[in-house]
Assembly symmetry: C2
Homo-oligomer: 345 residues x 2
């Protein structure tokens, strides 16, 4: 068993630990958010953590009604800009807590009067030292280069913040059900290990979703890119129709993430368009209507609130990336020329 | 001559017209921004216009010091979220002025007390009707499906807003030099028509930049995707090092946009890393140091302020997409299954 696969399996337990052990730390952050009347969130992150930031953007805007800005760290690190962030929450996300540009962004923001917080897997890391509130992914050490359990525990912390800030009972209850739902979803391991065979020789593909699961598409595409060296490009369904759909000809592989919910009808519309073009579709969904349009349907065994669906739907994406790498003769634990910690100025 | 190429050549004139004819409309917007003490900008856009939004994010943050949020339109259109945007400028960008979700986002924002403005090429379009200020790209009708002159005139309006809002003399002067600089850059037409031959059979590539020219990488990648049906994926150099660089093996085609300025040293660093991996590099730059690392250097004939460099550096990117499509036997004016106006809810 690869380390990546082991860590995929550790997620139910890690998420349960995060909810339990970080509940009070999140409550303290939320108290501060209320006292300071924060009405704008800015998030700094890179790579996988940036996908957690994408989820946070949708969730905070939908559930908490606050606009969320995804920071371009180079604005601060290259251009030395002085952006007025007084009264904002500036949230840094980095599993290692060492992403230099994220640390620098938070440090600058704190200087300009922002409240700062971070989501990281490493207690005492540089990022925690520039944060007023440090929230810790209780994922244990992550050894595989491709992040899995630090991603889902970051999403867990994001949803815990939104749930407490908005006093959203449904989200809080949903979070408690998650570990069991993910455990059930891991039953897809074996069917996915077989399904990937067909894609042994693909060189490129599109990964598609809409709304909240935009984060899932981005993260699933990155996992495949990192471990299988294929050019997997994620698109929002809406942006895809604005031009990139031109790449799709007969047999072009498309991966669709289509959980039930508000974004579902758009995904059906997209699947019908892709079928017209005779695309090859792998569809991750629960509803049979869309699954029937796929050459390779991946039926999720659980029902999940759309707001939390990115935490469940990424799991088959992780399994897919892990098994596809192995089918292609790659070691998913040792991506070519990548290291666990990337330092960028 | 293709319509796309004709329209690429119309850009110097279109930009000059935009600066001259929209100066007063931008001044009126800036007066409102000052009177209302706007300190936060939210931008809604799709496709090519979203790349203009990316440029606006960097420029407004760097030059005006206001945080800029790129809106996720589906937050409003799918999830019916009520996001508190009181006191913000909400800017919609759409060449046709018909992008339904952008119109809906502005309409919702206006209802919640935001100042609204738009950048569009069509006077009287639906988007102008939900905008307190309508800024018009003076590009004339754009007939090619692949947007070129509406992109650069949108960038012109963005920089005109930043220049006036921040009272930035350098930017204002630079804008007046632009038409001549772009005219000079069009001399690359012939050399690029020859250089693309080598890439007749590529199937995928990475397009890389950092900072302000992130917009250039995104837009150049989209042009190639739309007209040549190749999977061209844009990355910020910083994100690229966080994982996707794993796809690069010997001969993998990489396009680098590396104008002089703050982002330049990072691009040299990246080019050296790519050289180690024996990537095939096409580099658009002015400095010989980085050009010497390329298999196919494209030397820009003009010096341009980094703040305005995205307006000049996209031009060889447009030429490249147009000629590459022809070399591959495609008609750049008729991308497979795309229409000029894309309506998404």
């Amino acid at each position: 068993m690869s380390i990546m696969l082991e860590e995929i399996y550790e997620q139910p337990q890690a998420i349960a630990a995060t909810v339990e052990k970080e509940y009070a730390a999140v409550a303290a952050l939320v108290t501060d958010l209320r006292e300071r009347e924060v009405r704008h969130v800015v998030i700094a992150a890179r790579g996988t953590s940036d996908h957690a930031a994408t989820y946070a953007k949708y969730l905070f805007e939908i559930v908490c009604g606050v606009p969320v800005t995804l920071a371009a760290p180079s604005v601060f690190t290259l251009y030395d800009a002085t952006v007025n962030l007084a009264g904002c929450l500036v949230l840094g996300i980095s599993q290692s807590g060492q992403a230099t540009d994220v640390v620098q962004t938070l440090s600058a923001a704190r200087g300009s009067g922002a409240l700062t917080a971070c989501i990281t897997n490493v207690v005492g890391s540089p990022l925690t030292r520039v944060s007023d509130h440090a929230l810790i992914c209780r994922a244990g050490e992550e050894r595989a280069v491709a992040a899995t359990k630090t991603y889902t525990t970051s999403l867990t912390l994001v949803s815990l913040i939104a749930a407490q800030w908005a006093n959203h009972k449904g989200l809080l209850n949903g979070l408690r059900l998650l570990p069991e739902q993910i455990r059930a979803t891991l039953a897809l391991d074996e069917p996915i290990a077989q399904a990937v065979e067909r894609y042994r020789y693909i060189e490129e593909c599109a990964v598609l979703a809409r709304g909240l699961n935009q984060a899932t598409a981005l993260e699933a595409a990155l996992k495949m890119t990192e471990t299988s060296y294929l050019v997997a490009k994620a698109y929002s369904m809406a942006d895809f129709l604005h031009g990139p759909i031109a790449i799709v000809s007969e047999g072009f592989p498309c991966f669709l993430y289509a959980p039930d919910g508000r974004a579902y009808p758009s995904m059906v519309e997209l699947a019908l368009k892709l079928r017209e073009r005779e695309a090859e579709m792998v569809i991750f969904a629960r509803s049979t209507e869309i699954l029937e349009l796929a050459q390779r349907p991946v039926a999720l065994p659980v029902e999940v609130d759309e707001l939390l669906s990115p935490l469940v739907y990424i799991v088959p994406g992780q399994l897919w990336a892990c098994h596809l790498a192995q089918a292609r003769g790659q070691n998913p634990d040792k991506p070519r020329g990548l290291s666990k910690v990337t330092l960028t100025r």
